[in-house]
């Protein structure tokens, strides 16, 4: 083919590639045809003998041409200059692979595709002498099949060739592809498509579709297959071919291209989704250094961040922004103005830091919101929205926490039985994530100790040296802890009462300490009490895991006690404020009367006097006070966390690192050493922080935003601190088991923190002159108001019927019954499960016994047989008797499998292994 050669040698770039490709395709198609010819019987060869011979010679020349062209091409592209031979070898191997793949795809294809031709051919052979018409028909069919083959071949040669040629632009690939296709079979394409489509019956169509669907399923499950990558790729490519063939056959051209697009889109979307997960790389890095337990804290933190994001979105979008944009502006009414006596200091930083002054009279707090029913041109129901958002945040949190817990429980399901204690310890105790030598050392040590403990437990030879002493010590420790808890509770109560006294007398006269006493005391208690507990717990001599749980429980109790003392003190403050409010209310009427009497003595129809809103006396607004307290608490808590982090971790690490050179003992491994990352303490801190958010969010809509900020900062700060100045902890705290433990604590805290919030909402009347519910007797009246005025009358009626205790009580009863029923059924299921397990176990043991017996029996028989054989063989040849007994002992060591799948000793996907296995066994 001089023309191709010419083009191949002369032109470059695209043209060259294209012409080269053309040659190859030609070759392939001929090869395919030749193959086909060899397959077809004598008859055909006779007929086409000459032609095929000529073609073969042609093919040889083409091959030479292509090789030459290829070499030139390679030289020109300077890519695989030295690997000329290698390249070819690889190519050959790949072709072999291709062949395999082709076989595979052919297997499926052949049955379907050649069915018709075959049957026809058979007919043909039967009646050899029948008319030529029919023969012609057959020939046509075969030609179609041949061209189909060609297409198939070049289709799946395509990717290879493309790769070889290393195109720089994908467009050129597709271009040349289409060109080559149209070149290689320009006229047969249409004919074939139409012909095949016309000749296929609906059943065959169905079959084809089925085959394609199977392929698709295979691709979908490909990643789950335990095959080496090479095989995967080959199978994938072959199925790719199949798919292309289908598109050529136009069976479902649109369907598949759409499918492909959809799959591509899905894949891209998946990629996008993973790219959107925040801090993934950071957490991965930490995980690889410190193992999964430390990472579990950060994953928990991220989860928390997500929840707070949604809470923030709710409060910000539905409460704060509408009020700021559409509500009355600042300074229009008394509740939105800084009162006259505070005006002077309202912009001082100290006051603002305490969330007084301008911060207090802003959207950040409850008191700023107006009780106007609908605001702005949207007629936005702000009070209703405020109430619903408050309820919604809590409801959403409950939902999320419980859903996560349920999911975790599902994942953990069935993991609690200890029947595989030792095997689990052996096979699953190493954390593959660990990539830090120190962590690895700790892990080795902890695994060793856990093994030793298990062994000791197994032997049960340990004697409690002095049970009375340990008992006494444990009681003592608990007593001490209780004392600590009571002391801290009393301290907080005392401090809160004192701060109220200060507040009554006016905070301005006192210093920084008096103003921040409560928060500081709480933070300090939270910092030092856990250490104290840690010291006390050494008395108890518990197993580390048990000790950890005790410790967690105690810290939990401490935090909870502190929080509740704080709340009780706050309740007292609320009562005080409300008493104050009553007085203000009375004074207000007097003040108003004075105002009118003083300025307008006689004329009652005169226009009302305009008093600047800052001068109007107002109530103390207990809601804002509560909100402020919570915000301050959060701020001081955050500050202490960060400062402890900086001092306790960073400074310590710096000192230890640099003073170590000039110190008399080893600081790094001696007394101070580096700090560990305290997972449980940090998680508890996070949980309690969240509890405070839930409690205070109703009275200070800014709390979720603050918390978001805090979480964001602590994510970065703690990531940095962990990586730069912490050592991995020695104590093992498994991440998987503890996840639901954290969640359970979160749920408890959620419940406990909603209690006081709900109590204040339901039972304490709102302030008369501030907040969205001012003027109502109860906060939830806003619902009733909306029902009455915004909904049709029948709806309100229905609602009142539905909320009738006569209906609600039976409904509650029904709920309780349902819960009881579900619980009892789950209990029975559990019991049945246990029984089944027991049954299974006994069966297994029986099987084992049986197997052992069978093995013994077989061994005996074998022994006898061998003896007999020896006796017999002693007379005959000596060379043969060694082989059979060995192989038969091999069979007896493996008794007949008792279960269906026990026989599957070798792994799926590796057919070469069983041979190896038997071989090694025989050795």
């Amino acid at each position: 083919m001089p023309r191709h050669k010419l083009i191949a040698s002369e032109s470059d770039g695209k043209d060259n590639e294209f012409s080269l490709y053309y040659v190859e395709v030609e070759e392939n198609s001929q090869g395919g045809q030749e193959k086909q010819t060899t397959r077809d019987g004598k008859r055909r060869r006779e007929r086409n003998g000459e032609v095929s011979r000529r073609r073969a010679s042609e093919k040889r020349t083409t091959e030479v041409d292509t090789k030459r062209a290829e070499k030139k091409h390679e030289k020109r592209h300077k890519t695989a200059r030295k690997e000329g031979e290698k390249h070819e070898k690889r190519q050959r191997r790949k072709n072999a692979d291709e062949e395999e793949a082709e076989e595979e795809s052919n297997k499926e294809k052949k049955n379907i595709k050649n069915e018709r031709t075959k049957t026809l051919r058979r007919d043909d052979e039967k009646e050899k002498d029948v008319k030529k018409k029919r023969k012609k028909h057959v020939k046509n069919e075969e030609d179609n099949a041949n061209s189909g083959k060609t297409k198939q071949k070049d289709c799946h040669d395509m990717p290879l060739k493309e790769k070889k040629k290393k195109r720089k632009k994908p467009e050129t690939t597709s271009e040349s592809e289409s060109k080559s296709e149209s070149d290689s079979a320009p006229e047969s394409k249409d004919n074939q498509a139409v012909g095949v489509l016309g000749s296929l019956t609906p059943e065959e169509l169905e079959k084809l579709k089925e085959a394609v669907d199977e392929r698709k399923k295979l691709i979908a499950t490909m990643r789950g297959k335990p095959w080496p990558m090479k095989k995967k790729l080959v199978v994938l490519r072959s199925s790719c071919v199949l798919q292309r063939q289908e598109t050529l056959l136009i069976i479902s051209f649109l369907y598949y291209s759409n499918c492909q697009k959809w799959m591509k889109f899905q894949r891209d979307f998946e990629n996008f989704k993973t790219a959107c997960i925040p801090w993934e790389m950071k957490i991965k890095e930490i995980e690889s250094h410190f193992g999964s337990s430390v990472a579990s804290y950060f994953i928990f933190l991220r989860w928390m961040y997500g929840i707070n994001m949604i809470l923030f979105g709710l409060t910000f979008g539905l409460v704060m922004v509408p009020e700021a944009l559409m509500g009355k502006p600042y300074g229009s009414i008394p509740r939105k103005t800084v009162p006259r006596e505070e005006e002077a200091s309202a912009m001082n930083f100290a006051i603002l830091w305490d969330f007084g002054g301008y911060a207090k009279y802003s959207v950040l707090f409850y008191g700023y919101y107006n009780s106007q029913r609908a605001i702005g041109w949207l007629k936005f129901r702000l009070p209703l929205s405020y109430f619903l958002v408050g309820v919604g945040t809590v409801a959403y949190s409950y939902m999320v926490v419980i859903r996560t817990m349920a999911r975790n429980a599902n994942e953990e399901g069935g993991g609690d039985d200890t029947s595989f204690n030792f095997s689990w310890k052996t096979f699953t105790s190493w954390d593959y994530l660990i990539g830090n030598p120190e962590t690895a050392d700790n892990k080795f040590a902890s695994i060793t100790t856990s093994f030793k403990e298990a062994i000791v437990e197994e032997q049960e030879s340990r004697k409690d040296d002095n049970i009375h002493l340990t008992r006494f010590l444990r009681v003592l420790a608990n007593f001490l802890v209780l004392c600590c808890l009571a002391g801290s509770g009393y301290l907080i109560y005392f401090v809160v009462r004192r701060s109220q006294k200060f507040a009554l007398l006016g905070l301005e006269n006192y210093g920084w300490w008096e103003r921040n006493e409560v928060n500081m005391v709480m933070s300090l208690l939270g910092m030092f009490c856990p250490m104290l507990f840690d010291v006390i717990s050494t008395l108890e001599n518990y197993h580390p895991r048990v000790a950890l749980q005790w410790q967690l429980g105690r810290i939990f109790a401490l935090f909870l006690g502190n929080l509740y003392t704080f709340i009780i003190a706050l309740m007292d403050a609320i009562q005080l404020k409300r008493a104050e409010e009553e007085i203000v209310k009375k004074n207000m009427t007097i003040w108003q009367a004075n105002l009118y009497n003083g300025t307008v003595p006689d004329n009652s129809t005169a226009p009302p006097i305009t008093v600047h809103p800052a001068d109007i006396p107002r109530g103390p607004c207990w809601e804002t006070m509560v909100g402020q307290e919570f915000v301050r608490l959060i701020i001081s808590d955050t500050m202490t966390t960060y400062i402890t982090l900086l001092i306790g971790d960073f400074l310590r690490a710096v000192l230890v690192r640099f003073l170590n050179n000039c110190w008399c003992w080893d600081l790094e491994y001696g007394f101070p050493s580096y700090s560990e990352f305290d997972v449980s303490g940090n998680v508890l801190g996070l949980i309690f922080n969240q509890g405070m958010i839930w409690m205070g969010a109703f009275y200070a809509p800014c709390l979720p935003a603050l918390n978001l900020l805090r979480l964001h900062v602590s994510m970065y700060l703690q990531c940095w601190a962990v990586m730069c100045c912490n050592v991995p902890q020695e104590r093992v705290f498994k991440a998987s088991g503890s996840n639901n433990f954290y969640m359970a604590m979160l749920l408890v805290i959620l419940f406990l923190s909603t209690l006081p919030a709900i109590y204040t909402i339901v039972s304490i009347p709102p302030s008369f002159d501030c907040g969205p519910f001012s003027g109502k007797t109860r906060m939830f009246d806003v619902i009733q108001e909306t029902l009455e005025s915004d909904f049709p009358a029948w709806f309100g009626k229905m609602f009142s019927y539905a909320s009738n205790p006569g209906l609600v009580l039976p409904f509650l009863l029904l709920l309780v019954l349902a819960i009881y029923y579900l619980q009892s059924t789950s209990k029975t299921y559990k019991r049945v499960n246990m029984e089944l397990k027991k049954k299974l176990q006994t069966q297994n043991e029986e099987n084992k016994k049986k197997n052992k017996l069978a093995a013994l029996k077989a061994a005996n028989e074998l022994e006898q047989a061998r003896k007999a054989g020896e006796q017999r063989s002693s007379s005959s040849q000596h060379t043969q008797n060694s082989e059979p007994p060995v192989s038969s002992t091999h069979t007896t060591t493996r008794p007949p499998a008792s279960r269906g799948h026990t026989s599957s000793g070798h792994l799926p996907g590796h057919p070469q292994q069983p041979q190896k296995n038997s071989h090694s066994n025989r050795r």
Partner: protein, 187 residues
């Protein structure tokens, strides 16, 4: 994004994504890591599927594997020749199986291979001893090791042949609470 085009073609990337649990970006990153291991061996251009293998000694020194007591076994069981020489395909395969999203069954199959030191398709007492010694850095006495091995086999062996076949192993590992959370490597 010109960089992407020169390392892999789109089709290759798609094929890898179909065959593994990785996204496009991760595959490219894996290639980066693979390239880092032996910059003079591994070409930056993979569009023509070069036949490059990295020996075990280099791979074992990756920070992800360095501390793992079973690192040699991991690499060996994923290499096609069983000697620990990994081509890029094997490399991707390895981290795909060890990725977080891989299903438990798949992980179990490869975990079995890893713990099967003498590649006889059974975890016998020898394998268990080796596993234990690597796990504990040979801190346990031989008697203790013996006891643990016996107990482990007794627990998990269902057919009474005093060694663990894959079925036994899968049955045991499918109920292990920590298997999924510990048997993965992040890269």
């Amino acid at each position: 994004m010109g960089n992407k085009q020169t390392i892999f073609t789109d089709e290759q990337l798609d094929a890898y994504q179909d065959c593994t649990f990785f996204t496009r970006k991760e595959i490219l990153r894996l290639h980066g890591r693979y390239h880092e291991l032996a910059p003079h061996l591994v070409p930056m251009d993979y569009t023509n599927d070069p036949d490059v293998k990295i020996p075990l000694a280099l791979i074992v020194n990756m920070p992800e594997l360095k501390e793992n007591p079973f690192r040699n076994r991991i690499v060996e069981s994923f290499s096609e020749d069983g000697q620990g020489n990994l081509s890029f395909n094997d490399f991707v395969d390895m981290f795909s199986v060890l990725s977080e999203t891989a299903p438990r069954e798949l992980k179990a199959i490869y975990a079995f291979k890893i713990y099967d030191f003498n590649v006889d398709n059974y975890i016998c007492k020898e394998d268990l001893e080796k596993t234990l010694n690597r796990l504990t850095k040979e801190e346990l006495t031989p008697e203790e090791v013996n006891l643990v091995c016996e107990k482990a086999i007794e627990e998990a062996d269902l057919d009474g042949d005093s060694k663990l076949s894959f079925a036994d192993f899968e049955n045991m590992i499918s109920r292990a609470p920590d298997f999924l959370s510990t048997f993965h490597i992040r890269i």
